[in-house]
Every structure is written in C-alpha cells, then in structure tokens.
C-alpha cells in the first residue's frame, strides 16, 4: 500500500467527534450544499482491479497493438531507431555515442519516468530528458514537443521497456510532486466542473457517448491513437481531456503536466509498459 495519504475533500466525515467542531460542520454544510447528492466516491482503484486501456478495447484494436507488423506505432519506433544513432549538434554526438545499444541501456528507463532531476529540483518527463541530452550533451537545438522526431525517439526508448512494470520513484523528493499531480487529478475544473477522478476513479465501469471511460492508466505512451491517425504523447492526451472538460489546457511542457504525468505513472505502478500502444 502507498505511504502517501489520500487527501479527499468534500465527502469524508471526520470519525473523531472531538474534532467535529462547529467550524468544520459549517464548512461541510456549505460544501455539501454545492454538491449534487452523490454516494461516497469509489476512490483509488485497488491494485487487483487495475486495468489497462487495452482491456477496454475491441479485439481488432488489440490485435493491431499486439502484432508489430500491423502496429502503426512501430513506424515511429523504426524512425526513432534511426535517429538514435544519427549524430547531431556541435558535439557531433548521437544518442548511441554515450548510451550505446538502446536495447540494454534504455531497458526500463521509460518505466521510471517522469523522474526527479537533481539540478532542476523537479521531476522531468522522458521528452524533457531527451531535450536535456540534446542541449547539454549533443549541443543541439531542442526538439519541438509533439514533433515527429521527438515522438519517434520517445517511442523507440519507450519500446525498450515494453512488458516491464512501471516503477516511478516515490521517495521524499518526488512525493510532493506526486501529491501536486494528485491534486490536479482530483480537482474539479473547467466549465463542466469535472475532475479526472470523477471519470477515471469513480466511473470507469461506465461509458461516455458509447465509448468505455477506462481507468486512465498511462501505460503505453507515446501511443498511436486511431482518432489522431498518428502517435501522440501523454501531454497531448491530457490536453485532449482538459479541452473535453472545457478547462484551459496548460502550455505544453508545463510543470503541471509533468506532475500529472508523474501521478498517473505512480497510480499505474506495477502495470506493464505497452509502448507503442494503440488506442481507438
């Protein structure tokens, strides 16, 4: 079980009557009066009930993901493989110059990201890590987020961890950032006044406009989405959700996204990496 204490607002009543002061009562009444009557939230999904988005898909889409000869995400992986050994920048180095064979050196790396960066003092995601390598080691210009090359490299590196359990570090340094991500996940926002948790923790057994809601585990990013007809990052997916909630999306690369990514990976801890996954 997690060491992190779940902080849920609004619904849970204090069990100790001594701290049940008038002030708390007044706050609760005002909070509850704003809420529609709702049963207690389902809360965090227990480890045994966690399901990847894969399990919500049709047989056809699953087959597409499972067969590397059919999975269109493999086109990006192939490109990433070529980019891995292409020298760039003033340092005239390729990724392979330092990291050599990706199949050994990058094994398990994507399963640990976002990871805490000592120098920046905050977690960074895999894409930001790639760009740090580019600017600092290769002395090259950073790759644009969601650009073809960035997605290709992230997909290639991600694929090296396929099948490995997601294991982001939840030590003292990262804890506050995981909690910050959780806060965003559980906070109602946007014109629809929805939180991520209301769909992905509480109503994942349901459907939204005929499509399964899913538990929202970020196990296969970057992934090929049939709707996008391309591979896209987790940040693109999060942007999608925010726009759907009629909330204002954060700027690409914003710390809020990274915290949310970190929380989502922590929430999916132990689940196997599927990169490059296919989703409808």
């Amino acid at each position: 079980m997690s060491k992190l204490r779940r902080v849920r607002t609004c619904i849970s009543l204090p069990t100790d009557s001594r701290i049940f002061t008038v002030r708390v009562l007044a706050a609760l009444i005002s909070a509850l009066s704003l809420l529609p009557v709702r049963a207690a939230t389902a809360g965090e999904i227990p480890a045994g009930e966690r399901k990847s988005g894969y399990e919500f898909m049709s047989v056809e889409t699953r087959t597409m993901q499972d067969d590397d000869a059919v999975n269109p995400g493999m086109l990006w992986v192939l490109e990433g493989k070529a980019l891995w050994s292409r020298t760039v920048g003033e340092a005239n180095k390729s990724c392979a110059s330092c990291h050599t064979g990706a199949s050994t050196t990058m094994k398990g790396v994507a399963a640990r990201y976002p990871a805490f960066d000592k120098r920046l003092g905050r977690p960074i995601d895999l894409e930001q890590r790639i760009n740090l390598c580019r600017t600092e080691q290769q002395k090259a210009t950073p790759l644009p987020f969601e650009g073809r090359e960035m997605l290709a490299l992230a997909a290639f590196i991600g694929q090296q961890s396929r099948g490995m359990p997601i294991a982001v570090t939840d030590d003292e340094r990262s804890k506050s950032f995981i909690e910050a991500g959780r806060t965003i996940f559980e906070r109602r926002q946007g014109q629809l006044n929805l939180s991520c948790a209301q769909c992905h923790d509480d109503n994942w057994r349901g459907k939204l406009a005929g499509a399964p809601i899913t538990q929202g585990h970020a196990t296969g990013y970057p992934l090929y989405r049939l709707e996008w007809q391309a591979i896209g990052s987790l940040q693109r997916r999060l942007r999608n959700c925010l726009v759907g909630m009629r909330a204002e999306p954060y700027a690409i690369g914003a710390p809020e996204y990274v915290n949310l990514e970190l929380f989502l990976m922590w929430r999916a801890r132990g689940m196997p990496v599927e990169t490059p996954a296919v989703r409808p």
Binding site: A69, V70, M74, L75, W76, L78, L226, Q229, A230
Partner: protein, 106 residues
C-alpha cells in the same frame, strides 16, 4: 523518407497460401480539410500500391482520399518459387517508395 513495415514469411512450402502484410507511413491528406487559416489543404495521398512476385504482378490496390493515414494493406498469395517480392507505393507530389522481401520456397 517514408518508413515501411513489411511482413513476408521467410520460408514457405510450395503451394502454401501465405499472408503478406504491409504498412507505410503517410499522412494521406484528403484534400477536403481546411487549415487554421481556412485554406484547403491540398490533397496528398498514396494512390497506387503494387506488389510483384519475381516480376509478376500479384496484387494491386488503388487508394482514394477516404483511406486513413499510414495505410496498412494485407493480402494473400500462393508460394510458387523462391525469389523476391517487390512492393511499390506511388502517389501525389511524386511520392514513390519501394521495398523488397525475400522468400524461400521448399
């Protein structure tokens, strides 16, 4: 350069029906979409795919704007003799891609 993924069995028995799978990266821009400025994005699609087995055409497909990006095509043929299978994709704006696979028939 487009990326391609070809799946041809390396070995097959004579007379066996084999499945061939091909995947190619392409945007397949329909020509019906508008960009952010409201201007129509010109059509840019793969319009023809041909596969030939030791120089003999065995499969041909004409593609149109309704085909999704990164077209995947799969078909079957009979393994007759060892040799090579050539794949060519051609399309708008002089698009051309070639790929070759070897097959050994026993």
């Amino acid at each position: 350069m487009p990326r391609t993924l070809i799946n041809v069995p390396a070995r097959a028995k004579r007379g066996e029906v084999i499945e061939i799978k091909t995947l190619i990266s392409h945007d397949m821009e329909t020509g019906f979409r508008a960009d952010n400025a409201g201007k129509t994005v010109p059509r840019d699609i793969i319009s023809l795919f041909v596969a030939s087995y030791n120089g003999v055409e065995i499969f041909r497909a004409e593609l149109h704007p309704a085909i999704a990006a990164n077209p995947f095509l799969s078909f079957t043929t009979v393994a007759t003799e060892s040799g090579r299978i050539d794949f060519t994709w051609t399309g708008d704006n002089g698009f051309a891609a070639n790929e070759t696979a070897q097959i050994t028939v026993e």
